[in-house]
Symmetry: C3
Subunit: 378 residues, 3 copies
Amino acid sequence: MLIRKKRGHFLEDFRVGQVFCHKVGKTVTEGLFNAFTEFAMTTNPLHKNLHYARRYGFRGLVVPSGLVMNVVFSQSVEDISENARANLEYIDMRFGVPVFIGDTIEVTTMVLGVKPSSREPDRWVVHVQTTGYNQDGEVVLTFQRKVQVWKGNVAAPVQGTALADIPTVPCQLTLPSYDPACDYYKLAHLTNADTYFEDFALGDVIEHSRGRTVMTDHMVLTAMLDNTSQVHTNQFLIDQDPERYIGGKLIVYGGIPFNLCLGLSCPDVADNSLGDIRYASGRHTGPVFAGDTIFASTEIKGKRDFPKRSDLGVLETILRGYKFVRKNGACEKMEVFYLERELAVKRRSHYARSKHTAVYDSPTGRSQELPLQILAES
Amino acid sequence: MLIRKKRGHFLEDFRVGQVFCHKVGKTVTEGLFNAFTEFAMTTNPLHKNLHYARRYGFRGLVVPSGLVMNVVFSQSVEDISENARANLEYIDMRFGVPVFIGDTIEVTTMVLGVKPSSREPDRWVVHVQTTGYNQDGEVVLTFQRKVQVWKGNVAAPVQGTALADIPTVPCQLTLPSYDPACDYYKLAHLTNADTYFEDFALGDVIEHSRGRTVMTDHMVLTAMLDNTSQVHTNQFLIDQDPERYIGGKLIVYGGIPFNLCLGLSCPDVADNSLGDIRYASGRHTGPVFAGDTIFASTEIKGKRDFPKRSDLGVLETILRGYKFVRKNGACEKMEVFYLERELAVKRRSHYARSKHTAVYDSPTGRSQELPLQILAES
Amino acid sequence: MLIRKKRGHFLEDFRVGQVFCHKVGKTVTEGLFNAFTEFAMTTNPLHKNLHYARRYGFRGLVVPSGLVMNVVFSQSVEDISENARANLEYIDMRFGVPVFIGDTIEVTTMVLGVKPSSREPDRWVVHVQTTGYNQDGEVVLTFQRKVQVWKGNVAAPVQGTALADIPTVPCQLTLPSYDPACDYYKLAHLTNADTYFEDFALGDVIEHSRGRTVMTDHMVLTAMLDNTSQVHTNQFLIDQDPERYIGGKLIVYGGIPFNLCLGLSCPDVADNSLGDIRYASGRHTGPVFAGDTIFASTEIKGKRDFPKRSDLGVLETILRGYKFVRKNGACEKMEVFYLERELAVKRRSHYARSKHTAVYDSPTGRSQELPLQILAES
């Protein structure tokens, strides 16, 4: 018997209230950690410098939010979106306990709603809530998403329904406490001096200076996440029916620009952050293909106190990713990513000395003037 | 003095009965592990989920058979096949003790025979037996292979000979024992429900649904294995004399499609396997180049009991890899890989409950109906 | 307010005697270690075989000199050369204590001089001294370099000055001591038999046989090092003004061919080395682009005793990297890298038996003749 195994579900397979316990699970190895943290050019020392991370009370290098999101999301792909046309929106994405190298993540997803589309009867919108847990059962991330899923059989009867109430998943950023006895300022040269909570002003828009070209290496990263959606890694599939696929070519998996925009913005916005708190809404507003160079900007939308932590503030931002495309001979800016992002940012008052600088003058170059003891002491 | 160092041996260097203790050796780091396991899109949790692997009695994440094969094979390349034209066949490849991250593999090869070719006097067939050991001297893999090696000096006298008897290398798949007290079924949602030993029927041919395009990243993977054969990574060499090389371009090292076909077949055939036992015969039946999309299928050839393990069965299969090529305007299927493969597959009777499912209904979405305790319990 | 954050310094920002304590720092994960060690096709077992490294007295796999250099150098890029046009020279690069997986490297740089150029008033030469420390404050590497830095504002006043005396940074290769009781010869099959100190003759030029084509994967490696120089990874930047950039395209970060040439030369020169001691001078003498195939050669310039270590000798070499370019229909060799390199090389007298070989004859193939006990014993 010839069996054509097709993994993943089609629209008609989803029932509101269903909970998928996704397969496999994923242990974060140093290989996976390195590939994603570095691809994004992340600059927060919590993700790069073990010595710094431990001094801040974490038990190891902290897995960046972009990788946590990618690991949890990708575990849900086979069941939820292997047969999807497009990922429409991330909603209320909240981070819980930090993830470390060696942690094992398992993921569940509940179907919240199935919404018909009269205009496109062959692809409806599925609304789900996905939650990732570590090996101790603690929530590391939870989010809703809306995804446009193909019908397997266009004639199959599907009813549009939704849960009356969306169940609440308790999930709140957990951070080590502030230690008044710790000489944090001795490590202050490892981060930028202008990215403390006090440095941000409402309405500011920061154009991050660096760009990063995505090459076909996006396929390796996608496979590394167990993301089985074929539109990212199966050129033959695209070639068979290019018109069915956006751009008629392999599209870069959205988690790659997501991760990259977080990285590109890191030196200006997040290198004095202790963690991302919540993404209220996120969308891939334009497609990314191999060869595109991605840029990012951050708009400061709000600032508020962090509950019960006088050493931190909550920074409310909009992170945008964009690329440039040629149109009629001109070079046009095109948005590809939109993320409402809240971060927990350190206050200078608690972590650095006002006069701190990472540059010292030693006009004669004599070694006794060198501040190398900073390293030795810390 | 100008010295042109040429590593590797030519046909006239081989003597029957020789044993090469290959150089360097290789410790499996988390970086190597991650690159290969993930490139192949392996889905068996033994290779991905530390928690699962430990519950099954392994001391860590298990290195997949495709990586074990690649590490052992590649250690032999410089001595045996750096100056080869083609790898003709793998014979009687048997797995021994499992390999874990941190293990160090060293490899020896014995020359079993040198067989003349009257048709191609400049390239004869060398028959060898290669064996890999871990740091405790345990055999992790042994196999024979036949390889077509160039003569360095076409006029050099070489005699075709062979050992009368091929020495037997003791090597048998070693697995943790079945623990009747272990609640394996609590982890059953992490693997597919339709890939237990009971699910396979003789004669079935399973077309695995996913394809994976190989890009120039194959060169990074090849270097990562210490495979020094220049036809995979030296474009200049090819450009100097394209007609000497298959396809006139860099050919993808065979270990890459080998590994990839194992991975592509994993969700349908091997995600409830505890390990590959033996590959009776394997061949690269067509060349793979950057840009090709690889697919795989598995034919079920036989089923038998696993000696002294009522919880397992031996599944006898043929794993085939293929790609599509354009010929006269049409798209033709072309086989690129053939492997006779035996796996040790879990029986549902011992590892899952008959009614087990990874999807639960919670029609109202109330949290008390959610099966999240599955995660907490396990 | 629109803020265009530009990290890195321009020529007018540098003052002689300044010391930069560079940001972030970097922990060497197994992922980073694997990517660089393997990309270069390094063959010295100290970097590949944990068992061997420990027998030689190291506490783990040793990070290769090419990766130590790349980590320390790259930490200095944002402050010193993100806005540079070209890296002109490495001077007096000396290695200190070995680096191991898990070590965290932090880096400082002192400005030694700023030298005007009358011919190119928009780009002057900055002379710096960069030093890397591990988590215990020990020096792992120190070097000077000269780099051509763009002026941000061509009209800005800059004075050419230099320190009267260059401060000395104590830094000397630290190696485990020789253990007369250790049976090193039992591991001798893991390295080449013709690369002991006794094997090198003054004036020899060794053409290393292997070449390695660099693909666009160079961008991943560059990002992995935190090298933020945009000319390596931002295609859009180049496309905006190709004439401003060497070759009009993305140029491969120099640390990649640096690392690669060390790797290509390893089997012939460095696989019986215990470490690189010093690079008196190094230069990137030609640009490297994606698609180029890199080759290397080593010239033996001198041999001397290693102070207080009768088991070692100091090998003085020149390592050259080159590629081939088409010119007027012909294929011309073009040097791309030049490095004066001193290595600490093992003497055969202390580490191997004169008659040692890695190949044994077992004419009948009987297992009792096999030297497998070598593995078991060692």
